[in-house]
Structure formats: C-alpha cells, structure tokens
Symmetry: C2
Subunit: 671 residues, 2 copies
C-alpha cells in the first residue's frame, strides 16, 4: 500500500487503486464514544447505539517509518493526535494498524473510497443479499431471524411473540471482510460489534465499537485470486471425504425407529451416506414441543444399544451422525461434572451463569478456559461421540454468548461474542484431530466469524423457513453459499426442505422436491425433519417425494468424479464449490447481478427454481462459453438470458461445452 501525502491530507493506494482519501475538509477517519444498549432474547439481539461523540480527525500528519508510513491524526492542528495509523505491507497483504493515542474512545469509523457502479461481496454468510452495495450490514453473530422481512406476516408474528423476526442482515455468521469488484478485499481485524455501511455515495464506511487492531487489504488480479487470498488468510477446510458426497445424509429423529425409517430410503433406491439422528442424546417434552436433551451422551432409552447399531450400519457403508452444542442442561450428568470442575462461565455472584432455553436452563462451557476446552474435546466429543462411532454431527449454536457473564480469561464478553463461534469450531476441530479423524469426520456449523474457515469443515445455511420466501426460503441457501464461499468457505449445504415451521407455515411436497434438486448440486445433500416433524411432510411419507429424492441422491453420487476435482481445487486454491457467476466471468458485468444462480465449479451452472408454481425458469448464462442444458442437451451461447422447461425433477442446470467432465454430466440425464 502506497501513501501519498497531499495538501491537507493523504491518499492510500493499493497498486493503482485509490483506497482511502483523507482531506481536512473531507476526513476519512473518525473517533468517538458510544454507549450501546444490547438486549438478547434467545439469540436475537436488540441493539441500539447512543453516540455521544464523533470527532472527525481532520488533521493528518503522515511521516515515513521504515518502508511504510505512520500517520498522526488529530481533530485540528491545535490538538495533539488522538490516533495513529501505521501503513505496512507484506507480500500479498497491506495493513493499516490502528492505535488510539488517547484513552476513552470506543468508536472508530473509517471511510474507504467508493466508486460508481462498484459491487461489494462477503460480509460473512449473508442470507439476503450477495451484492452488499447500497445497504448496511451490522456484524454481530445472532439468530438469523424467522421471516427476515418486515413486510411478511411470519416476520411480524415472530417479532411479536419472540422478537425473533430478524432482518436482511441478521446472520449466524457475520465477518467484517468484503471483496470489491475493484479487485481488492478489505478485512477488519476485530471481534467487536462492527458495521459495513455501503449506502453512501463516494465512500464505504466501516464502523467498529472498539479500536480495531488493523484493517487488512488484499489486491489481486482477479476475484478468484482474491478468494484464494481469503482462503490463505482465514484457513482451509480439510478435504471433504468421499463418503459425505456419495449419497445423502438422512436426518431422522424419532429414536431407534429412525433406523427402520432409514430403510425406506434405501428401499426407494436412495444413495444414503449417513443416518443423522439429532436426538441421539435423548429428548425432553416442553410446552413448546419435544426438545433435544442437552447432555451429550447416547441416550440408552431412546437409542438402546446404539454403539452396536452404528457399527452394523457402518458395515453397510452408512455412517451415523449426531448433534452437539456448547451448552449443558442443568439436569444432565455432564452439567454436574463441568460445574464441579468450574468449567462454566459465571455470573456476578461467581456461580454458574444459567441461560434459559425455554423451560430448561443451561450452563455455558467457558471456551476461554483451556482446561474446559480440553474436557469438552476429550470427555464430551472424544469419549461420548467419536468413541461411540459417530462420523460427524451438527455443531449447533455458537451465537448465543450472553454479554453479561464472566469468562475465565477476564475478557469483555462483548468482545468475545463474535469470536465464540470460532472458539466453538476450534473445540470441535481439535476433538476430531485428537482422534486422528480430520478429513473423515464431518461436523457442520451455522455460526461463524473471521477464522471459522480454519476449523469448520462444512458450513450449513442455518434455519430457513419451510417456504419459498425471498428472505427466509430456499433462495437464501444460495446467497449464503455464495457469500460465505467468497471468504474461503469451500463447502456449504442446507437443510433440504427448510427447518422452521411456525405460525401455520408448512412444508409442501413441491418445496421439498425443489430443495432436494438444488441440494443435488451442492457439496452435501442432507435432509432435516424440521422443528415440527409431526405437523410437516417428511420425505419418506410421500411416495413421489421419496422417489424424487432418491433420484437426486443418485445424481449427486454420480457427480463424485467432478466433485472430487473441485475438492482438489478447494484444497489448492481455496475456491468454493459454489461460486457466483462472476467468479469466472468478471469481464461480463451482467454476471454481477445474479444472486440466485451459481457456478458449481467452473463447468456447471445451476439456477435453482426458488419460487412456487413454476414450470419454466429464466436465468442468465455468462458470455464467452457455450452452455449445454443438462436435461435436453440443447446448447445456448452465453451472454444472454435463457428460458428452459423446469418441471420438478429437471432443475435448470447447464454445463460448459468442452468440459473434461462432459461424459459425467451427460450420464446424469439417464439417472
């Protein structure tokens, strides 16, 4: 990064890109004080800031320091500096180190240059918008919301009954990192609440509720190159094992009977890679319905003789998956053990801080305590899960760290809240590593933050509503895959059929089938019974849905050779399997407008039908290639929109003429 002092300020360049421009009359740096109000309601946050001071640091004095620059910033020439920015560079990464020169400030704003027509991407796993331009994105891990659209009745009801409706920016996995169509990326190194604000003309504004350590900048010749830089920076996932791609993970949770139900999938000809039973550790009945029992050991009553049954399944090549989260219910055995050892975060009084999850209370295992981590890794995940024979699990939650508890490391929980998913991911990853199962065991997470990439082998898109809605339905799983993928998360998947059924919103056969036929063209297919299994249609309850699902699992399995090549690419270049159209077609500006279709690797384009009642579907095909419609074999020149027949069972999928995998793709038509 190059600093050029200018009259009354300075400019920062990343190669030839003007990234930051500071002038006395148009300052780019602001320092201030704020008093936030944060209230948590079961993972949903009500956050408001009261900014009592915001000082434009108009006066800038840059000076040479070694190879770089050090810039002193003050409100006016008459004042001493309040902030220092230090510009340094290392191969492939430039940094702007931030240091307060005076105490008492807890708000920081930085303006980066915005260009007309610039597109912005990332921000973690964003569920509503792939292109962030024109909007404001708070960075705070939370429940994603139910409905996520203040104009829908479901959002209203969720807000009214539990403040749980959410909005377009709510996500389990925020990350203050973005990619610009100007072929640079910026990352804010902080764990504090932050905001990426792309609504302004002429500048992007980064807001941080603390002094960030630094802002990192990455410039590359292409967006694909930037994604590699992100993967290099934040970590690579282990290669996804073959087993996870060779069929579907079937989610069932009705106790030992789940084993019997699974046979219906097998009999229907489904390729089944695993049986996933969330309820492996038992359940409890509450007035809200049946809930899992949060004491992470096999339930002998709900799953008698589980170890043997897992082994039997394994002999047939079918894995068994479970469920875990970072809480322990206070009526479980592990709670007593952890409490005795002092592994829980505490309250004011020094006692275990209990979190109400709805008619049961839980302790929060304190992951700032290395002993607590080791205990959870070895005693809970190691002994109770891996040694039982589990090949993976949903590593749920991570977003709920209350901001009023006491942690072993003494840190402000407001600064640990965003980091918690990463600590949680690391606990899971280390537990797997300790048994030497990295790259074989697959756990999947919805929560994340900067650095989760190094720990979480598979992102799951969280809890969509069981519908086709724009902001909480099927399409958000696409947006989530693409946005998180650009930040180095190579593997993504979602609950087939969605999860959240509330206020009378129920799964339709069409929804399950449309979701399954999308999932066939993602790294992993996994079904979920949803939050209200009995009220909602299950795949195995409808012959046509089951047959459709089975066919999709076979298609997915048949893609293994292609997926295997993409997996190598992920390991080598950090490229996600699901990529925005512009990933390989930056020169085609129209590709930047597409958020609901994706390249599945370079050679396949998938445009899932994400609305109800459609039988034809229109999508854009990138320029410079000829695209073969998977089902009809018809070819289309890229560079325009095409409309194809898209009845259920024939999702709009195209492949690139000349692909080395043409035979593999051709073969799908016959499945």
């Amino acid at each position: 990064m190059r600093c050029e002092p200018a009259d009354g300020g300075f400019d920062l360049f990343l190669d030839d890109r003007l990234i930051l421009s500071h002038r006395r009359e148009a300052p780019a740096v602001f320092l201030g004080r704020g008093e936030e109000r944060m209230a948590m309601y079961r993972g949903n946050f009500d956050i408001e800031d009261y900014v009592t001071a915001r000082l434009p640091l108009a006066d800038a004095a840059p000076s040479r320091q070694g190879d770089g620059w050090r810039i002193a910033l003050a409100p006016s020439p008459a004042e001493p500096p309040l902030l220092w920015l230090t510009v340094t560079a290392e191969p492939g990464r430039s940094m702007l180190r931030v240091e307060a020169a005076a105490p008492g400030f807890n708000r920081f704003w930085l303006r980066l240059v915005a260009e007309e027509g610039e597109r912005l991407f990332g921000g973690g796993e964003q569920m509503s918008y792939l292109d962030l331009s024109g909007r404001r994105f708070p960075m705070w891990t939370s429940e994603p919301g139910v409905g996520r659209d203040k104009t829908t009745a479901i959002t209203f009801e969720a807000d009214r009954t539990g403040r749980a409706g959410g909005d377009y920016f709510n996500t389990n996995y925020p990350q203050p990192t973005f990619l610009s169509s100007r072929r640079y990326a910026a990352h804010v190194e902080t764990t504090a609440y932050a905001v990426l604000d792309f609504r302004h003309r002429g500048f992007h504004e980064i807001e941080v509720w603390a002094m960030p350590e630094r802002i990192e900048f990455f410039a590359r010749g292409s967006i694909a190159g930037l994604v590699t830089a992100m993967a290099d920076r934040f970590g690579r996932q282990p290669k996804l094992p073959d087993w996870a791609m060779e069929g579907a993970i079937v989610g069932l949770k009705h106790g030992a009977a789940s084993f019997d139900t699974l046979e219906r999938y097998v009999e229907a000809g489904a390729a089944v890679s695993a049986l996933w039973c969330e309820d492996w550790s038992g359940v409890r009945e509450t007035s809200f319905g049946t809930r899992l029992f949060w004491d992470w050991q096999a339930s002998g009553t709900r799953y008698p003789d589980l170890k043997r049954r897992i082994a039997e399944l394994g002999e047939r090549g079918i894995r068994f998956l479970g469920y875990v989260n970072p809480y322990l219910c206070d009526d479980g055995a592990l709670f007593r053990e952890a409490e005795a050892k002092g592994y829980f975060a505490t309250n004011e009084a020094g006692r275990t801080h209990l979190v109400d999850f709805g008619e049961f209370d839980c302790g929060v295992v304190d992951f700032t305590d290395p002993d607590a981590c080791r205990w959870f890794e070895e005693r809970v995940i190691g002994e109770n899960m891996l040694d039982l024979g589990l090949s993976g699990w949903m590593a749920d939650f991570g977003e709920y760290l209350p901001i009023d508890l006491h942690l072993k490391n003494g840190a402000d929980p407001r600064l640990m809240h965003n980091l918690w998913p990463v600590l949680w991911g690391a606990v899971n990853a280390r537990a797997v590593e300790k048994r030497g199962r990295t790259g074989d065991v697959v756990f999947f997470m919805r929560a994340g933050y900067s650095g989760i990439q190094a720990h979480c082998p598979l992102v799951w898109a969280g809890d969509q509503s069981v519908d086709f809605s724009r902001h909480d339905g099927l399409v958000t799983a696409i947006v989530g895959a693409l946005s998180s993928g650009l930040l180095g998360n190579a593997y993504h998947h979602s609950d087939i059929g969605g999860y959240t059924s509330l206020f009378g919103n129920l799964r339709t056969p069409e929804l399950i089938m449309r979701w399954a036929e999308m999932a066939a063209f993602t790294p992993v297919m996994r079904s979920h019974e949803g939050n209200r299994p009995k009220q909602n249609l299950q795949i195995h309850e409808d012959g046509a849905v089951l047959a459709h699902f089975a066919r999709m699992t076979r298609i997915h399995r048949a893609l293994l050779p292609y997926l295997s090549s993409l997996r190598d690419e992920a390991a080598e270049k950090g490229w996600p399997l699901q990529r925005p159209l512009f990933f390989h077609h930056e020169e085609d500006r129209r590709c930047f407008e597409v958020f609901d279709a994706y390249l599945f690797g370079r050679d396949m384009l998938v445009a899932p039908v994400w609305k109800a009642g459609e039988t034809r579907w229109t999508t854009y095909l990138p320029q410079g290639e000829t695209w073969v419609h998977l089902w009809s074999g018809e070819t289309f020149a890229g560079g325009g929109e095409v409309t194809v027949e898209a009845p259920i069972g024939a999702p709009p999928v195209f492949w690139r003429q000349g692909s080395a995998f043409a035979a593999c793709f051709e073969a799908l038509r016959r499945l």
Copy 2:
C-alpha cells in the same frame, strides 16, 4: 436564571433548581453535523439521520454580560469557540440564546439535569404517553399512524400496505416544550426537526437539527402555575361559545339526506348544537372509496340550496359546520384560480408542486406568501364558507408539507414543515376574525406546533382507530387532551366512536357508547361517521346507541353552568378543561401515575372505561378530598383506588364534595 462558574465548567440554576451542569469531563453541549434522509408517504415519514460529527464542547468560558452571562464553548482550550450561549432573564422567563460561532454545523444537543423520579409532560399532543420519562420523542408533525403499536396486526398491515402504522411518538401536533415535576418548563424555540430524549440517567437530552434560536425556561411554584405560563407564552384560545357546549355536533356526510338523518337525533331527544357535513363541497369516487372533493365551495349537486337550509337550521338553534384543508385539487375551480395567481408552492421546474393524495393531485397553497393567505382567508373561507353561513369546520391536515418544494419566502421546507400547522391555523383564525366571528365560529384542528394555541380554538384528537386499543383507541383521546392541555390548549375533543376502520376493524355499539359517555365530560361532543361509514355502525342505526347518545348529550348540556366557569378559568389562567390528576394534587405523588383519568375542572374526576367488556372500573382518587360517585352518590375518601360499578351509561365520574356546582352534578343523575 443564575449562572455559577465552576471548576472546568458552569452550572445554571432556575431559582434553586440545578437545570444544567457543564463540566469538561461531562459536557452538556454538543455541536455536530448530520445528513438526514426523510421520505414522506402520504403524511407518514421515514426519517433517518447520519451523524457525521458530534463534538462535545468540553471547554466553557462563562463571562458576565450585563445582567446575564455569555458562555463561549469550544471542543478544547486550544480551539476557538464554536458556540455561544447567552443567559438572559426577563420576568417569568429565562432564556439561553444559542449562536453558532462557526459555520457548517446543523446538529445541536443540550443536556439538562435529570433527577431520579422526575416526571416529564408535554411534547405537544402526545397520544400514547402522558409521562414522557424513559422515552424518546421526535418532534415532527405527521400522520399519527394507524395502530401505533408494532405488536398489533393493524399496525403491521398499515405499515405493510402504506408505511402508515406509526409508533407511540407519532403525532399531528408535536411541540418541543415540556413540563417537569420539578416545577419548571423548558421550551425549544425552533421549527427544525427536534428530539426530546428522556431515556438517560442523569440528564435529558434535547436534539435539534439546526441551531435553535433559544431554549426558554419557566419556573413557577406549581404545575398549574406553569400551565398558565405556557398559555401566556403560546397564546389563549377565544372562549368556547355556549352553542358548542349546549349539545352535540352531529357528523353526517351523506349529502342533503344528512338533514333528514339529523332529525332522527332530534326526535330521539338529543341536544344537537350543530350538523357537521364534511362533504359539503362534494365528493369523488376513487378505488379507495368515496373521498371529499377538495375544492372548497358548496356543492350544488350534493347539497342543493345549502344556504337556505343552513339558515332554516339556524332558526331552530342548530348550526352548520363544514370542512376545509390547505390543499386544492387540480380538477377544481379554486385550483385554477390559485394557480393563475401563483399562490401554490412550486417544484424544481417552477411549476405548481402537485401532491398525490390517492388518485387525485393537489396544489399546496403557499402560506409563506401573504397574498396567498389573504386570498384563502377572504375568497375561500370568507366568501365560500362564512358567508354561506358556516359556524365552524374541521380545519384538516397541516402535517403534509413536503420537504422538496419551493416556497415564496425562500425558506427551507424542512424548517417550515413543523410551522405549517401554525400558519394554517393562523389563516383560519384571521379569516374568522375578518368577519368578526372570533369566539362564535369554532374550527377544530388536529395538527399543531408551538404557537398553535394562539390560533386554534379547539383541538381535535385526530384519527383514532375504531377500537379500544392502548395506542390508537379511545384512551389516546384522553392522553392527547391532557398532554396538549398542559401546554395551554384549553379545549380538546375527539371523534365519538373513532375514525379509522381498516383491515376489518369495525365499530361496535359498545365502543360508540363508551366514547360518547366520555365525550359528555369533555368540552365538546362531536360524532363522526368515520372513514368507512357504510361498513361501520352509525349512532342513528341502532336504537339503543342513539338513546344512549341522546342522554349523554343532555348530560353534557346540563353541565353548561360548570363548563362556563371552566371557560372563565381558561380565559383567565389558561387552564385546560381536562387536567391530569396531579394538576391540583401535586403533593399526591400517585396522581402522577394516572394517564387514563382526568379532572374535568377542579371539581370533577372522570375515569372513562377504555377497555371492552368491563362492567366495573377501578381508578385512583386524589388525596385530601372526598369524592362523590356521580351515579350512586356514594362517597369515597381520596388517597386510594376505588372500584365502582360502571355499566354502559354510567361512566366512572366523581365530583368533589363541597363543590359550588354540587347541585348541578346531583341533577345529572336524573337525566
């Protein structure tokens, strides 16, 4: 006001009250810059501020200036002052004049001292909360909202379909003036968007989106004394004429047939003071339903021979009222006349700025142009309304001044928006005055701002929903009366039965009757057919409702001697007829908690039943008096809650034992 320099700051005292305390480490004054976004949707505003600078003016240098003080304020001792505050005093009023010492600032914040347990009142006509403490109140005249409670389905639907749901603070009549239980009042002299923020511990924060001219302070020995000070400051209403209190104003709007319908009220034994026909100038059919024709002259087709009919009614002692607002529809005759004379506000292109009111467009008469005012006063109100024989009207709207038009006086419409209701009120008042009818003609307004008191003879509570809801139903008419009354608006009333029927919300007989029996104990009884007359029950359509209404009008009429004494009190002391319990009982702290009951003059306490399905009602009676239950004659010692039978027809009303009007009150039982 006394200024006492202190180490690193200063204190301002109002008598012995510490009002403002400024210290270097805890500044009370802030200056800044903001870029607001304001979008109007038919009188509903979506407003957001982006504060780019907020500078604590930590360094204060007070110096003597004449009898008062002049205080220079700067961000630091090293900086030149950015603001001057001048402390002056005149009998009964202290002032803090505000002057920017540097250009380019458009945000101002001032912190006043808050005490634990302090109560705050006023803020204009507030519909949800009488006690403002703990909440934030933006001051911007607008539609009040439909539902006004984000947890109700009606609010959600209103928001979804027209961004019209509103919130607790939305009001037609804001005023940046408040009374404190510390027996002082503060008024912000500005027309800019402002905020009264009473949420903070230790201070109240006033925010203004401009440099305010000054902050005025009033200290008195009692709250009642403060109310007199408010009335002295903002103006007094003319005495409400007898005719307006001697019976009900019956609102009907079905053309000439309204005259026939009126007879049903007369025949039922109702005391009728006036017939009010909103539709006197005609109607138009739109896809939203029947709308009034906004061309302010009698409609010969809808009301043939109206002048004669008004005169005939007058001979029977019944007045005739109409309707007017500050817009002229572009398909009306007056529009052409006003446009030819150049009396409309204009757009960028210099042409008439047209406002879409839903399938018809209107010009905005430019009340910053004295010629336009005179024309409206003489030609429209004088000739078309007063000379026709009208004795009053609803002077509707005033809240809709768009912020993107051009005004004759060249002022920023954002600074004229709040003032518009006052200009509109003045036009009406002058028109009446020119015909020598002040104190006889009664027009009523819902919109207001500081100073409306001098022009508007009767406040009307705006458009309640036709229900018992907490934030948009019957009870809000009480809160509106009490809050506006404390700022010197002596006369208040509301639409009997409410107005807004949307999304299937319909009037019940109970609602109409409960509303009518409250209205009997307000200055004026007036019915309204509502926005959807045909779908909603009308008083005359139900024998029991009509009989109940008729009885209430007789009760109201019988109160005339008492009301006449209250009218004298209003003229003399500026006291409103409807008063919070604490108005005469400051020493009884429990009175400060009551928002849903009121003193009707000193001698009567009214606790309207504002919930559905109630037959008994509990209310608090102030200490130090003995209270006689109006209907049973039972007496209660004040100082506690009492529960009385409150069937329909017997609203909970009490009178003060020993009242000079005891006989008058006693007589009501027999009506």
